[in-house]
Amino acid sequence: MNRVKVLQAWLWCVSLWPCWLSHAVPLDCKDETGSLIQCTSISQEKLLDRVIQHAELIYRVSEESCTLFEQMFVPYPLHALRNQGGTMCHTKPFPIPGSKSEIQQISDKWLLHSVLMLVQSWMEPLIYLQTTLNRYDDAPDTLLNKTKWVSDKLLSLEQGVVVLIRKMLDEGILTPSIFEHTLTPYDEPSPEIPESVLRDYNLLICFKKDAHKMETFLKLLKCRQSNKLSCLSY
């Protein structure tokens, strides 16, 4: 069943790949000579839809990566760790409310910014994850491909969110990266399998959780855009 899901998601990713490529057009359009030309523009609604699709896809792929990793490397009794949602996720510091009512009270601006922060905070850890996964002897190719794919998609998600912020909030964000990423990959010659396995497992769990956050926030944002009343009133 997991294999089927993996295959399905992979097929979906592959089929959507050109879709995403075509979407990754920055609004500052310049031709070869450097002059600004008319860009192909899309509406804010469509952009938000696409951003949400991105987030959904990333979330699903992250879940599959986690499952793959769990099946391959994590001993069976430790699967309960997944249930615990990750003991230590590095994005904990900035507080994100967990209850629905609290989240509903968050403003659009805060939602977008938190999404952006989440995206940016995960870029480097994913690259780190790629390098560590390569060190495993029998890491399945699908897992490596998924992590690579996710890190690529995260970039385009960041772009989309930046554009959204600019459009919806009329703000401009200059620097894409706010956080200093000091997560350096271990250069242990032969890391103990349990440690690195647990560490990576934890990383994947945390990433899945944060991807879920991103998706939820964006969907809430969409709900607000389309129908403010039903989303806020509860």
Partner: protein, 628 residues
């Protein structure tokens, strides 16, 4: 503080902490973990509520499960187990802790449900998703922690079943045996799908009523799904359940709905089909017939192509039809094909060297040598023959039988013996004498015994025209060969040799060819004039002219190799068919049609575009034109 980067030391601390926690989890949550793992890892597992919350009586107090319906609240249940003294309320208490960055203290359950025994309810304010909870089951009096488990709320969400399940008929198959339906439902009202709080995926199951096995369809993120290939006259049950996407916990199944489509007898549909078929076929047949009749001419041309009319290159076919032989004759004579030098070019013609000056040598050796030479050349010709391109000569020959056999048979010493087939025997005996390379060939060639006298011997392929009758007929001299073959044999050995080949080459029948084992072609067909000859440099006159002109010549224009013991005279006809007209306006006549050997190649090959004279007798007017 460095909120994002994790230095290695910190990571190591985390790792050790993880180790410790792992040990704890293993120790304490193994029993509980099995339940959870059964939910998480086995996707196909349907954990009924009754099963999940069946406490294990053999254990001590433990949690039996935690569930959330809508990701906004959740509940936990526990059981006292074997410790019956703890069943009274309040004996066991639940403490929880949210594992955020700050290790908060343990708090007691916010709400013990009064209506339900051993249930702890966390309402909205206490439910935080994306945070890890740990709950403990303690007996405060004894200060013992009997059970502990950790989870995040989204991992324990089991959505409510969808509502509003109904079906509509999509279509029924032509045969009326199968049908397709579209099943629709609505998401559970408790799940806030609109806001995106929960993203649900659904799974539809169906089965024949009261069957044991449910058919499962793929997960569907929408709220409708089609089911194909259901049988009419069977009652089906359909149900649906949902789960959060990217999670593994299915909710409860909805109530089943019944689907039933009665089978409609569709015999009426077949009747018009048959009629349509019949009428269609009839119409098609009528159309075809009409088509054939209208396009008769064209079809005739396509299917029965006309036989091409006689055509000579450069000559109008009308001339031939109308019988204007004057013009025809002039045309023909002007053609290059009957020039005399044509025959000079043919080597076989050259071969026909009537060596009349040389006395017939009785010397065997010379003859032998002569024949050897001939044979050699002949053999060489034989050997080359196969590779030699015909250059237009009719090559109706039997290539398997080599030439030397004939030569060998013509040795003077061996001729005239009363063997059954002198040729054969001689060939065998004379082979060692020759000592030529054809030895093996000769030995190997099958020697055909002549059962009877070949009729070819006495056959006149070309009869000598001795006179013309006033009426216009041609009088031919009868064959003279049968008179004294043995007498003449010595005289004409050499000629025989040469003519042998010649005759074998040109004017012998198939039988001859077989028996003489030459490479020469068999008897001429009606069209055949000059047959193939082994290429030999025989200088000589025109074969043609000598042959026909020398009527008074005692030499036999055609050669008999041996006299058969009992010659059978073929009937010599006074009238024979004019075969062709050569360049010198001589007639080449047909042999009497005894040997209907047909050459595979048309003799017209070597005589390009020879006009096919009408088969038959010469008419006077034709004859008048032909006299030189």
């Amino acid at each position: 503080m460095n909120t994002c980067g994790i230095d290695p030391a910190h990571l190591r601390n985390r790792a050790t902490e993880i180790k410790r926690e792992t040990a704890e989890a293993m120790a304490y949550s193994l029993s509980l973990g099995l339940l959870y793992l059964g939910l998480l890892c086995g996707n196909g597992l349907v954990s009924a509520r009754s099963e999940l919350f069946t406490p294990d009586p053999s254990r001590g107090p433990h949690f039996t499960g935690c569930r959330s319906r809508e990701q906004e609240t959740f509940r936990c249940w526990w059981s006292a187990g074997i410790f019956q003294n703890l069943t009274e309320p309040g004996a066991l208490r639940v403490f929880y802790q949210t594992k955020n960055a700050l290790l908060s203290e343990w708090q007691e359950c916010p709400d013990y449900t009064h209506t339900v025994k051993n249930e702890c309810y966390f309402n909205k304010t206490f439910t935080h998703i994306w945070t890890s909870y740990c709950i403990q089951l303690r007996s405060v009096r004894e200060n013992i922690t009997y059970d502990e488990t950790c989870f995040t709320v989204e991992n324990i969400v089991h959505p409510d079943p969808p509502i509003g399940l109904n079906w509509t008929l999509l279509n029924v198959s032509r045969s009326g045996l199968h049908f397709d339906i579209l099943v629709r439902w609505a998401p559970p009202p408790s799940a806030d799908v609109q806001m995106g709080w929960m993203s649900l995926v659904y799974q539809v199951q169906y089965r024949v009523r009261n069957a044991s096995h449910w058919e499962m369809l793929d997960l569907e993120s929408g709220t409708q799904q089609s089911i194909y290939g259901l049988h009419t006259d069977k009652e089906y049950e359909v149900r649906v359940r949902c789960k959060m996407s990217a999670f593994d916990n299915f909710g409860e199944f909805s109530d089943s709905i019944l689907v039933h489509v009665a089978q409609i007898p569709s015999k009426e549909s077949t009747f018009p089909t048959m009629l349509v078929l019949i009428f269609g076929v009839i119409g098609l047949v009528i159309l075809l017939v009409l088509l054939i009749f209208s396009q008769q001419q064209r079809l005739m041309v396509i299917f029965l192509p006309p036989i091409p009319a006689p055509k000579i290159k450069g000559i109008d076919p009308e001339l031939l039809k109308n019988g204007k032989l004057d013009q025809l004759n002039s045309l023909l004579s002007s053609q290059d094909m009957y020039k005399p030098d044509f025959y000079h070019e043919d080597p076989w013609v050259e071969f026909i060297q009537l060596d009349l000056d040389d006395p017939p040598e009785k010397n065997e050796s010379s003859d032998t040598q002569h024949r050897l030479g001939l044979s050699r050349s002949g053999s060489s010709h034989v050997l080359n023959f196969k590779s030699d391109d015909d250059s237009g000569r009719a090559s109706c020959y039997d290539p398997e039988i080599p030439n030397p056999e004939d030569l060998a048979s013509l040795l003077p010493g061996h001729s005239g013996r009363g063997d059954n087939h002198p040729l054969v025997s001689r060939s065998i005996s004379s082979i060692p004498d020759l000592g030529v390379q054809q030895t093996s060939e000769v030995e190997e060639t099958p020697i055909q015994t002549q059962p009877a006298v070949p009729s070819w011997v006495n056959m006149d392929f070309y009869a000598q025209v001795s006179d013309f009758t006033p009426a216009g007929g041609v009088v031919l001299s009868p064959g003279q060969l049968n008179s004294s073959p043995e007498k003449k044999k010595e005289e004409e050995n050499e000629k025989k040799i040469q003519f042998q080949l010649v005759s074998d080459g040109a004017y012998t029948s198939e039988n001859t060819a077989r028996q003489l084992s030459t490479e020469v072609p068999p008897s001429p067909g009606p069209e055949q004039g000059y047959q193939t000859f082994p290429t030999q440099a025989v200088e000589g006159n025109l074969w043609n002219g000598e042959y026909l002109v020398s009527t008074s010549d005692s030499q036999i224009p055609y050669l008999l190799p041996e006299a058969p013991p009992a010659p059978i005279l073929p009937p010599v006809s006074d009238y024979t068919v004019v075969q062709e007209v050569d360049a010198q306006h001589s007639l080449l006549l047909n042999p009497p049609s005894l040997q209907p050997a047909i050459c595979p190649h048309s003799p017209n090959k070597h005589l390009p575009a020879m006009p096919t004279m009408p088969m038959g007798y010469l008419t006077p007017d034709l004859l008048g034109n032909l006299t030189p």
